[in-house]
């Protein structure tokens, strides 16, 4: 290491439980988040595994229907509210939001322990508000609490980005990851309150029988769907935008090329965040909303596809004439671009109203959003994880194992979810614990893929933990990346920089930067 370390690294600065649980250092908070969401991820994955096991046979005779219903509900709730939404932003979050996150998580998980909740993660009324016999109130209180964690995280980012940029770090010198987080934060603070309100209404309806969603009392069950999707569709972009930001960092670093079309990528993040608020009705084409409302939502849904497509084209063009290395983060990046492309294109089928009639609420939808959420968001998370691991821990992980895990994940993912597109077009509805026998072959393929996928996820746990103790020292900048974080030692000292760095370049100046570092 060429730099002389003057201050202890953030990992060495204080030991013991108290120094972690009361820390004000964003890097330590990030690690608290990382450990928590990793725990939730594997909990959610266990539910996914049980779902796939049950669907090995048409009779679905592993578990009772009611048990199955709680499985897919818990899988959805945990993966969405406790992994995907907080994953990347949370790992850069603040302490209060982490505590709120944990309290919310405890509520929701305790609901599972007391017999579970069976509404699906969507809580559709009047099933959730009147008919379900399960722990709906406890669950929605948990989700409500977690919402505050999201809002605080969003505020934290927006204020930091506005007020605490380093000298010389103008808006258009910001890394694209930061633009993506800014867009995500906007959705957090604008959308989360609406989710909170709709879930509170469900809880009030259950406890006090207000009748807001009950047609017998003059309420309207469809009204809940409007409220719910007003948040939950933008929430989809909360899950994918940060990963898109990570990809903008990795694709440039491992191609050693400046991003192609910085402005287009930055503004497409904002475009997605803004238009994303106006497309919620595409979840409701067949629910009974008016034809003309449906048309407006369909058109806007097609428009939101454009900024996403622009990003894919820009990343691809960035690789042109680059110097491309096949390091682990780049393999995940390839995976992200490919799977996100498939996920995005299959979104067009769902936005086309006439086709949506057929594929709505089938496995086609399941496959589509897993290509975005798992193929996209999780792949992006893994890319970022491997990219910044040396910075976070100061250690290098074994590269060969990393590449192997990336390839296994890609193969396992496709085998799991591609058959579900076919199942969906054949007409297999989602949330079925049993199915007609002719769907069995495709279900078995999917379950087989899930077991490969599990290997792909377990491998990194093993070699990343291994690297903490045995991995070689990483040095300040193992990838020769641009970006401020690579100027400080790995792991960084508590205050990140002894003196605030002065930024003089646009991001991703790989053609000139290289000489200075090498």
């Amino acid at each position: 290491m060429s730099m002389v370390q003057t201050a202890p690294s953030y990992l060495e600065d204080g030991h013991g439980l108290k120094s972690w649980l009361l820390t004000l250092d964003h890097k330590r908070i990030a690690l608290l988040y990382l450990m928590s969401i990793a725990g939730f991820f594997f909990l959610g994955a266990i539910f996914a595994g049980l779902i796939r096991l049950n669907l090995l046979t048409p009779q679905g005779n592993l578990v009772q229907p009611q048990t199955y219903n709680t499985f897919f509900t818990m899988h959805g709730l945990i993966m969405i509210f406790f992994f995907l939404i907080p994953s990347i932003p949370g790992v850069l979050g603040n302490l209060l939001s982490w505590y709120i996150f944990i309290v919310g998580g405890l509520f929701t998980v305790s609901a599972a322990l007391f017999g579970g909740v069976d509404t699906g993660w969507t809580f559709y009324t009047p099933f959730s508000s009147i008919y379900s016999q399960s722990n709906v109130v406890l669950t929605v209180v948990g989700i409500f609490i977690v919402g505050f964690s999201s809002i605080l995280t969003g505020l934290n980012f927006i204020i930091t980005i506005h007020k605490m940029r380093a000298p010389g770090l103008t808006w258009f010198r910001l890394p694209l990851f930061i633009w993506a987080l800014y867009a995500t934060s906007l959705i957090f603070i604008l959308g989360t309150p609406v989710l909170a309100i709709s879930l509170v209404l469900v809880a009030l309806e259950r406890v006090f029988h207000l009748g807001i969603f009950d047609p017998a009392r003059g309420g309207d069950p469809i009204y809940f769907q409007h409220l719910f999707w007003f948040y939950s569709h933008p929430a989809v972009y909360v899950m994918i935008l940060p990963s898109m930001g990570v990809i903008s960092e990795t694709v440039t670093c491992f191609s050693r090329r400046k991003i192609f079309g910085y402005n287009a990528v930055a503004f497409s993040s904002l475009g997605i965040a803004v238009i994303g608020f106006l497309v919620w009705g595409h979840h409701m084409f067949v629910s009974g909303q008016s034809l003309y409302a449906g048309m407006a939502f369909s058109l806007l849904s097609f428009l939101v596809a454009i900024p996403s497509a622009i990003k894919v084209f820009n990343w691809t063009a960035t690789m042109y004439q680059g110097s491309i290395a096949y390091d682990t983060p780049m393999l995940y990046t390839f995976g992200f671009i490919g799977l996100f492309t498939v996920g995005g294109l299959t979104g067009l089928y769902l936005a086309a109203m006439g086709v949506d009639i057929h594929v709505h609420d089938t496995y086609f939808v399941i496959a589509h959003f897993h290509y975005i959420m798992v193929g996209g968001a999780v792949m992006g998370f893994m890319a970022g994880m491997h990219f910044w691991w040396p910075k976070i821990t100061g250690r290098l992980y074994p590269e060969t194992w990393g590449r192997l895990a990336a390839v296994i994940t890609f193969i396992g993912f496709n085998l799991t979810f591609f058959p579900q597109f076919i199942l969906g077009y054949l007409g297999m509805p989602r949330r079925y614990h049993m199915y007609p026998p002719e769907f069995q072959s495709l279900n078995v393929l999917s379950s087989a893929g899930a077991s490969i996928l599990a290997v792909g996820y377990l491998l990194p746990v093993v070699y990343l933990l291994w690297s903490l103790r045995y991995g070689p020292a990483a040095g300040a900048n193992p990838w020769r990346a641009t970006g401020l974080e690579w100027l400080t030692p790995s792991p960084p000292p508590t205050h990140n920089f002894e003196t605030p760095p002065i930024v003089q370049d646009e991001p991703y100046e790989y053609s000139t930067w290289e000489a200075e570092v090498a």
Partner: protein
Amino acid sequence: MWFSLPLFPPVASTYAHQEDLLFFFLLAVTLVFVALIFGCILFFALRYRRRSPDERAQPTRTYLPLEVAWTVVPLVIVLVIFVWGAQLFFTAMRPPSRAVEITVVGKQWMWKIQHPDGTREINALHVPVGTPIKLILTSEDVIHDFFVPAFRMKRDVVPGRYTTTWFEATQPGTYHLFCAQYCGTNHAGMIGSVVVMERSEYERWVQAQASPVLPASAGAILFQRLGCSSCHQTNTAVRGPALGGLFGQVVTLADGRQVTADMGFLREHILTPGRTPVVGYPQIMPTFQGQVSEDQILELIAYIRSLARDERAQGGS
């Protein structure tokens, strides 16, 4: 069944043919873009692979025409898909006027179906080939969804309102009927079949059914039994409006609003008359909430529909 690997669902309605066309167009668009993106990534990754650790890449040049092109071309493509998809949707949502009306009531976890002649079926629907069928759907409890993959037809079944959809079967056979909106414990068991038959075969099936009661006749008996007739039929003390010829007419409410007396209005007025008082009549009608089932409301409506303009409601006489 282990070895069977179906890849495409049966195509059994007029709409299914039209919908598959757009599906195949979308499939072509998908394949072109996937080939383009995957091809570029693969080619760049091989062609520009890093050959030495100190290698430097060419500086990035901006090229505006390219950026404009890859914004405009996808935009045009999605607009085409949008218009095509919306047109299809209108086709799917607007039944032809000559369609035969069949009512469907969903409840946890079964489908109750009634034909215009009064024949009832549970979890099964028999229809002749080549006849447009309009379904009028409602639910007794939570939201369900009536889904027939072979017809590419799906419609949410919502408590408190009537939704409609339609199909015209083109191919005799037995097809899956699924509930597609998650509705609780036995959601996966809320299934049935749609049996499409040649016309002659269908006639034989109709003959074989136990002699059903016309919904309007059943409604007339209810009309009498529930006491509706005491206000809605007497000539002298005009406590309630006569209902002959009412269906489909525009009704003026006490607050001046004008509404069409369709099925939804009649249903709402039977259950919550206080919310839609009709101009010129004192609001004295009691609610029938909890006293009539969804099936009975449908029968009452069938009876009211059957009354001609000058015919006074006669009850079950």
